[in-house]
Symmetry: C2
Subunit: 418 residues, 2 copies
Amino acid sequence: MTETPETRAARAVDETRLWDRLMTMASYGALANGGVNRQALSPEDVAARRRMKRWADARGFQVTTDGIGNLFVRRPGSDPEAAPVMTGSHMDSQPTGGKFDGIYGVLAGLEALCALEDAGVATRRPIEVVAWTNEEGSRFRPGVMGSSVFAGRLALDDALGVADGDGITVASALAEVRAAETDIPVRDMGGPVASYIEAHIEQGPVLEAAGKTVGVVTGIQGIRWFDVEVTGREDHAGTTPLKTRKDALKAATGIVTALGRALADPDDVVRFTVGRFEAFPGAPSTVPGRVVFTIDLRHPDGATIERLSAAIAKTSVVEAAGCEVAVRETMNAAPTIFPDEMVATVRRHAEALEISHLELPSGAGHDAMNMHGLCPTGMVFIPCENGISHNEAEAATPGDCAAGARVLTACLTDLANR
Amino acid sequence: MTETPETRAARAVDETRLWDRLMTMASYGALANGGVNRQALSPEDVAARRRMKRWADARGFQVTTDGIGNLFVRRPGSDPEAAPVMTGSHMDSQPTGGKFDGIYGVLAGLEALCALEDAGVATRRPIEVVAWTNEEGSRFRPGVMGSSVFAGRLALDDALGVADGDGITVASALAEVRAAETDIPVRDMGGPVASYIEAHIEQGPVLEAAGKTVGVVTGIQGIRWFDVEVTGREDHAGTTPLKTRKDALKAATGIVTALGRALADPDDVVRFTVGRFEAFPGAPSTVPGRVVFTIDLRHPDGATIERLSAAIAKTSVVEAAGCEVAVRETMNAAPTIFPDEMVATVRRHAEALEISHLELPSGAGHDAMNMHGLCPTGMVFIPCENGISHNEAEAATPGDCAAGARVLTACLTDLANR
């Protein structure tokens, strides 16, 4: 391995320190079965933020926040005029979440700053670790809220007005957070960013199945949601001959089966999911007169999503079997394609560090989607056990966590010297 | 048409009288949209029973009841020792029921007695019209309760102990009915019956589609219920490749589609219905880990039902697509095959009366199932509009109602002289 500032900083990543910090953070909102419930702007979230502040203070990093509660930890660069390179993710979790989703990217970023300190490597640009507010969207909808406001894609006032299930607004919850953080200065919203790179667990099984340690993320796949409503006619299950029925369930199951064939992908890149499926009236001896089901369609390529969406609409009608079929699009998020140079940067440093790697798109959405519109953006994935996420059973190994942090550290060192 | 006692009595059936009585009964529990809600042993049911008593009194028929509240109207025969021929059906309705289900058979029976009176036709055996208690099973489960107790298939005490959704028992509801019927003697339960013949709306579209006025019912098809549980694994819809999923919904829809093929019947006699279908957890972006659905299978032939049930179990497992599949039988009622001579009797009198007819099995269950174990039993169907039943929109024509009553009257006259 050639000695460079990047490899020197990366080798200073401390596997034990990173793992211990992950386990410490997992104690804020810990669930009995090993999972974590740390909702955005909750007391558990505040506790995690206080811990982050103390770790940053111990190394002399500057901690700031902004109007939506994004938390920044900054290691200065040698050029006081240079825009920062940013990294990070989120500290909030799903209600029955795990120990790694989000928090891994924040602590891997902090580990990078500590490794740079320990290795005595200076950078021209400052590096900032950010913990974006409310990525999950479990308590306050929509998710990726903090990065949306930072990137100017969501108005601050609109975000502050959002209420949770108990009627508590983001503004009100944020006021309580601020009261616990009088030692953290509030900075202006947004600002120039040189580049952004986010570390995250894969939340899928691809890396594990391929036996690779790091994922070089090429982008975030596009997502479309559809509601399909099939309307037939309720009939008596005993007396009505099958030929005279308009059986909404028979039609709907036929549509789902046909869609599975129409969207079949030998490369296994298409993600097609029917997650909700309801039949009415739902009595064993009544032929269902109405079925409603959802389609979640994802693909990294925009043109492919367009083509598959058209196939969904067509197949649903062709397979209607005498029923009425209505297909309604309820969400449409275009694919994110990270710049070649950011993808190449991650790949290059994984290679230099002799860490096995694989290029793949992200199946899930991330704050990086918002940063992509603002500056050159990339992501680094590490494997998670059995691909399980959004689940108390979510797991990653200390070695993989450290390997991802090493690649991240090398990338940040590189980007902060451009 | 040859003049016989049967045709003479049948011609005395009064279409207007029968229709007016149907409309009068429909007023007890009338719903705003034309339907009827007359639950078993409710105040509406009591009102209908009082009306029945007055009509019977007006013609000098004897009215009795028994320990489960079955209501009997008897026209004596010439032989005081002879067991009665019975006819009838039920007066209770579904909560959102129609004007004809059940009550038609009771009033067609009463019309037969009146026609015999009007025509001056005596019979050797007495003829009894019965209104069986709680056929629908909507308020008190199980249904066909009164005929089950009469036929000795359900212990009286077990039936009396059944409670409705408000905790009111059959015994308690029956005590209130009895308080309104101090003028109706209580007779012993059961007793010898020479034969039983029940008139009913078809509750299906077969007669209407064939343009026939009367259905010569060959039996009541067997019914089996199954619960099918498909267990896979919950996964993230965005991150999990389709090849690594255990998608319970994909498996379940594939099973339903395959079952449709496996049970396909060119003669359209098989009744196969998936009425309830639930996917868990039911979130659009989560691959369902569990699906539960019901199967309602009916056929008039016992051996065929056995064969189809085996096919259901086999196909469900073959199409499991990597999931676990459990098939559990939750109901098994064998087919009822009416004796040839009873079927021939109905057919013969329909022919003699020059009323168009068709042989068909009953798709729905009836009190006749219980009487079948006790004495030679048959049924007469009339068409209902679009095959709709258990629905406020249930409809039949005055002409068809009268035609069915004519065939019934001829059959009763014939049977009561054997």
